[in-house]
Amino acid sequence: MKRRLFASLIGIVLVAAVAIGFTVGSGDRPSLGLDLQGGASITLQPEGEYDALALDVAVEIIRSRVDAIGVAEPEIIRQGDTVVVNLPGVKDQQRALDIVGRTGDLQLRPVLQSGSVDPTGGTGDTGNTDPVDTTVPEEGGPGEARGARPMVDTTVPTTDTTAPTTDTTVAATDTTVPAPGVEPIDATVDEESAGVTTANDLPEGSEVLLGRDGFAYLVGPVAATGLVFENNASANIQGSSWSVVVQLRGGAEGEDIWNALTSRCFSRDTTCPTAQVAIVLDGEVISAPVVQEAVFTGGEVQITGDFTEQDARDLAKILEFGAVPVKFEVSQVQTVSPTLGSDSLRAAIISGLVGLALVFLLMLAYYRFVAVIVFVGLAVSISLQFSIITYLSKTNGLALSLSGIAGIIVSIGIAVDSYIVFFERLKDELASGRSLRNSAQRSFEGAWRTVLAADTVSFLAAAVLWWLTVGSVRGFAFFLGLATLADVVIVWFFTRPAMLLLARSKFMATRSMFGIKQPKTGEVAP
C-alpha cells in the first residue's frame, strides 16, 4: 500500500515535470486567439443545400488558399458546420475576406497536353520547342515532381462494360506520364499531342495547371462543371484495386454535357487530343483519366486507376463537392488590433498570477503548512494542463482566447475546492478523536465521493457546451472540461498519496494537523 502510494506520487510529479520540461524545452507556446494577438477572424456558415462530405472539401479549398497567401500560422477550425478562419496579423482584411469567402468549383476540362515539371529548371531536351516546355517550369517551379502521387494511369470505362482495355490505356498513359518513383524525365511531352498544338492554336481559355500528381497539364476551356454528376460518388474496391463510381444527372444538365465532352475526347478531337479529361478543383488538376467510351449510355461513370483507398475516397469526396458546391455566407468578421490584443493578454496573465498568489496566502493562513500540498498540487496540475494545451494547440490548432483564460482563472477555484473539501472532512474526523492516519484514509474516501459528484456536474456542463455551441463559449467549455479532468486526476494521483503519506510520516507524528491534537497511538476516542 505504502509503496503504491509512493509510486503514484512520484509518478504524477515525474509525468508533470517531464511534460513541462519537454514543453518548455521545445520552445513551444500555446497559440493565442485573435483577441489576444490581433489579426482577422472570419466565421463562415454554409448556405442552402450542402453535403457533409462536400464541406470537408470546401474547408480544404479554404485551407490551401489561405496557405497560398502566406499568412503566418493561419487557423482553420470546423465547429460543426461552421468554419472559423483565423488569420493572425493579416493586414488587408478585405483581401482575406475575398480569398476565404469565394466559392470553390469543380471543372471538367479536356487535356491538351501534359508533361512533367522539369526539376532542374529547363535544361532538358534541347530540340523541343513546344510551348509547354517553357511554360511548365515557370508555373510549377522546381521540385514539384518530387511530391508525385500515384494517380497516373486512370481510365474511365462505364461500369456496364467490363473494362477490357485497361492494359493498353495504362501502357499509353505510362509513356506520357512516368510512374512515381521513376526519376522524372525532363519536360516529357505527350507523344500524341506533340506537334498538334502550337501557341497560336491554343483555344481561348486554355491554361497550364498543376496536378496533384506533380505533373503539369495544359487544359482547354471548361467543358463541364461538377454539376453534371449526381450527389452520390462512392469509392469502391474491385478485386484489389480501388475505383470511384458516380451517377450522371439525366438530361441536358448532366448526361448531354458529359457525353459531348467524352465523345470529343474519345475520338481524340483536336480540342481533346490526349483523350484525357482533367478533373480540376480550384485550379488544381485532381485526376486526368483517359476516356474509354464515347457515350456513357448507362448514366454511370467509373474512374479506375492505381488508387490507394485514400486516393479513391478523396476523389469521391471531391466529386460530391462538385455536384453540390458549398456556398458560404460570411456571418462574422472580426479584426483586433495587435495593441488591444496584447493589452488584454497582459491584464489576464497578471490578474491570474495575483489571484493565484492571494489563494496561496489564504490557504497558508487557514491550513498552515498543509497548504504546501495545495501549492505543489496546483503546480503539478498547471504543468500538466499547460503541456496539454501547448500540445493540442500545436497539433489541433487549439488557440487560447480571452474566454479560455477566464475559464482557467475560474477553474483555480474548483481545483482548490477539492483540497478544501478533503481538509474539512479531515478536520471533522480528527475532531471526533481518530488518529491522523485513520482520519486521512477515511476523509479521503468521503472527499473523493464528493469531488467525483461535483466534478461530474462540471464536466457535464463543459461537455454539453462543447458539443452544442460555437465560438468563445466553446473555447471556454474546452478549458473548463480540461480543468475538471485535471482536478480528478490530481486528487487521485497526487493529493491522495501526498496526504496519506504525510499522515503516516514521522514528521506528523509529533505535530498536530489543523491545530487539533491527535491521540497517541492506541488511545481511544472519548
Binding site: 490578474s351 492571494l358 459528484a453 456536474v457 452544442l468
Partner: protein
Amino acid sequence: MSIGSAFGRLYRGETTVDYYGKRKPAFLVSGVFLLATVVALVLGGLNLGIDFKGGVAWEGPATATLDQDAVREVLEANGIDTSNAKLQTLQGIDGERIRVQVGDQPDEVRVAVQKALAEKAGIESQEVSVAAVSSSWGRSITLKAIRALLVFFVLVSLYIAWRFEWKMALAAIAAMAHDVLISVGVYAIFRFEVTPATVVAFLTILGYSLYDTVVVFDKVRENIDRFATSKMSMGNIVNVSSNQVLARSLNTTLSSALPVISLLVVGSYIMGATNLQEFAIALLVGMLTGTYSSIFIATPLVAILKNREPKYAAVAGAVAQGAEMAALFEHTTTRAAQKAAAESQVSRESSVLKNTSSNVLTHPPRPRKRRRR
C-alpha cells in the same frame, strides 16, 4: 462572544445557525431580487451586444483628433445614421479608447469607416479593431446556447436524481435558476452589454452553483443516512449539514472569488482591460449567490420537499436550537465513525441497505493491531 471564538467554532464546524428556521426571510430576500430582475427585464430588457443582434463595431485609440464628434462625422460621411450609434469611451492601459457600434453594414462601408477612422487618428488602419456580425448568425448562436442549456438541465437533473434523489435534483435546479436569474438581473438593471463573454460568465455561474449545491447535498445525504434509524426531522438534518459545510463553503467561495476579484481590480481597473470588467462582475455576483443559494435556498427546499414524506412529516416541527443542535454534531460524528468503521469493508452502493449495522456496532472502533513481522 468574541470574534476569536466565533471563528474557532466556524473553523471546527460547530456553528449552530438555524438555517432552516430562517428559510422564510431568505426566500423573501431572494424573491425581492428575482422580482427586481423580472421588472428590469420586462421594462428595459437586456442590452444585447452586436454578437446577438448583428451589426458592426469599431474600436481604436482616442487621440486629440479622434473624439466622439469626429467619429460621428466619419459615420455620417459614410452614410450611416448616427442616431442609433452607440459611442463609448473606454479607459485603457495606454490611454483612452473609443468604441462605436452600429447596425448591419455592407463590407465596403465597414472597411471605409475603418480607414477613415485610422486616418483621423493618424494611425495605421489595422490599429482600428473591427467586429462585424450578421444578424442571422447572432440569432443562431443565441438559439444554440439556449438549446445547450436545456440539454444540460435535463442531463444534470437526471444525474442528480440518479446520484441523490429527484427531490434534490429539483432543489438544485431551482437554486441554479435563482443564481443565473439574479446574475442576469444585474445585467438588466445596470444595462451592461451582453457579449459572448457574458454568456460564458452566466454558464460558469450555472456550473459553479450546481457544483456548490452538489457538495452541500452530498453532506445532507450522508446525514440522512446516518440519522436513518433515529427519528430526526429534516430541519435538523439540513441544519447540521449546512453548519458542517459552512467552513468549506466560505473557504471555497473565497478561493474562487479571489482570482475573480483580482481579474476585476487588477485586470480591469489597474490594467484597463475593460472587456474583462463586466465579465468579472457577473462572475462575482454569481459566485456569491451560488454559495448563498446552496445553503439558504437549495437545502431548505430539500427539507420542505422531504417533509412531505410520512417519515419526516411526523417530526417536521422539531428543530433543535443552540446547544441542542451542537449535541447533534457530537452524535453525528461518533455515529459517523461507527458507520464508517462498519462500512469500510462494504461498497458504497450498498450503504443504504447496511444502515442497520450501525446499531450493532455501538462500541468505539478497535485500535489497529500492530502488523506481525
